[in-house]
C-alpha cells in the first residue's frame, strides 16, 4: 500500500464511526453539508484574526461533515441530483470563505503582496471546479489535474496547523493554474481528437520517431 493510501485508510476508521452515528441519528445529508459550511465560516474567522492553529482544528471538524455527507446519503439511500448540486455549491462557499478570512488577515497586516497571492489562489481554485463542471457538459469526463478540492483542503489544514500558510498558498496557486490549464487542454483535445503529447514523447523514447 502507498504512503497516502495508508494515511487514508487510518483516517477512515474514526470516520466510519461518525458515518454510522449520523445514519443512526437520521441526520439528513444536506443538513450535514450545511453544518460543514457554517463551521468553515468559523474557521475563516479564526484565520482572519490570525489564530491559525484554532482555524486548522475547526477546519478538521468542518471537513468531517463535508466528507461524510455523501457517504451518509449513500447509506440511507438519499442520493439525489439536488444533493450533488447542493454539495458542490456549498463546497464553493466553504472554499471562498476561507480565502476571504486570509485576505482580511493580510489586508489587516498591510501585506498587499499576499492579498494578491490569496486572491489569485481563490480565483484559480474556483476555476478548477468551474472548468471541470463546464467541460463535463461537453465531454464525458474531465478528471485531470492534481490540485482538486481534497488536496486543497488538506493543504490548507497543514498550512494552518503548522503555520506555513504562505508556502501552502504558493503550492495551491501554482498547481491550481496547472490544473486549470490541464482541463482546458484536455477538453480541447477531446473535442478536437488531437494526438496525445505523452504518446508522442513515449514513441520518441522508444525510438520510433
Amino acid at each position: 500500500m502507498t504512503f497516502t493510501g495508508t494515511i487514508g485508510a487510518i483516517c477512515m476508521y474514526p470516520l466510519r464511526g461518525i458515518i454510522r452515528l449520523s445514519v443512526a441519528l437520521k441526520i439528513h445529508p444536506n443538513v450535514l453539508t450545511l453544518v460543514g459550511v457554517i463551521i468553515n465560516m468559523l474557521a475563516a474567522w479564526a484565520l482572519g484574526v490570525g489564530h491559525f492553529v484554532s482555524a486548522g482544528a475547526i477546519m478538521i471538524v468542518a471537513n468531517i461533515f463535508d466528507f461524510i455527507d455523501g457517504k451518509v446519503a449513500r447509506e440511507r439511500n438519499l442520493e439525489t441530483l439536488f444533493g450533488g448540486f447542493w454539495d458542490s455549491v456549498m463546497d464553493r462557499f466553504s472554499d471562498i470563505t476561507l480565502f476571504i478570512g486570509l485576505i482580511y488577515l493580510y489586508a489587516h497586516l498591510e501585506r498587499v503582496d499576499y492579498v494578491i497571492v490569496t486572491a489569485l489562489t481563490m480565483m484559480f481554485s474556483v476555476m478548477t471546479s468551474y472548468t471541470r463542471a463546464r467541460a463535463e457538459s461537453l465531454i464525458e469526463k474531465c478528471k485531470v489535474g492534481f490540485m482538486e478540492r481534497p488536496e486543497r483542503i488538506v493543504l490548507f489544514m497543514i498550512g494552518a496547523l503548522t503555520n506555513r500558510m504562505a508556502a501552502v498558498l504558493w503550492v495551491i496557486l501554482v498547481l491550481s493554474v496547472a490544473t486549470v490549464a490541464d482541463r482546458i487542454y484536455f477538453t480541447w483535445r477531446e473535442l478536437n481528437r488531437s494526438p496525445k503529447v505523452e504518446e508522442i514523447l513515449e514513441q520518441r523514447i522508444a525510438g520510433q520517431q
Binding site: 500500500m1 502507498t2 504512503f3 497516502t4 493510501g5 487514508g8 490570525g50 491559525f52 488577515l105 493580510y106 497586516l109 501585506r111 503582496d113 499576499y114 485531470v144 489535474g145 492534481f146 481534497p150 493543504l155 497543514i158 498550512g159 503548522t162 503555520n163 506555513r164 500558510m165 504562505a166 508556502a167 501552502v168 504558493w170 503550492v171 496547472a178 490544473t179 490541464d182 487542454y185 484536455f186 503529447v197 505523452e198 514523447l201 513515449e202 520518441r204 523514447i205 525510438g207 520517431q209
Partner: protein, 69 residues
C-alpha cells in the same frame, strides 16, 4: 541518440507531473505529496516573505549550522 530522443524522457516526466492523470494513492501521487510537504515545511518562511511565520525554517537552520553560527 538524437537530442530530440534524449530530451523526450525528462519532458515526459515533466508533462506527466503537471498534466496529471493519475489516481490518488498511487506511487506517483505519493511522490508529489512528499515534494509538496518538503517545500511547505523545509522552505524558510523568510524566503517567501511569510506574513505570519518567522525564523529560518529547517533549511536556514542547517545552513546556519554548516556556517558555524
Amino acid at each position: 541518440m538524437t537530442i530530440k530522443r534524449a530530451l523526450a524522457f525528462p519532458l515526459l516526466v515533466l508533462w506527466r507531473a503537471f498534466f496529471w492523470t493519475y489516481d490518488r494513492a498511487t506511487w506517483q501521487y505519493d511522490l508529489w505529496v512528499i515534494a509538496i510537504l518538503a517545500f511547505v515545511w523545509v522552505t524558510p518562511p523568510s524566503w517567501l516573505g511569510d506574513p505570519m511565520a518567522s525564523g529560518p525554517g529547517p533549511i536556514g537552520w542547517i545552513l546556519d549550522k554548516l556556517a558555524g553560527r
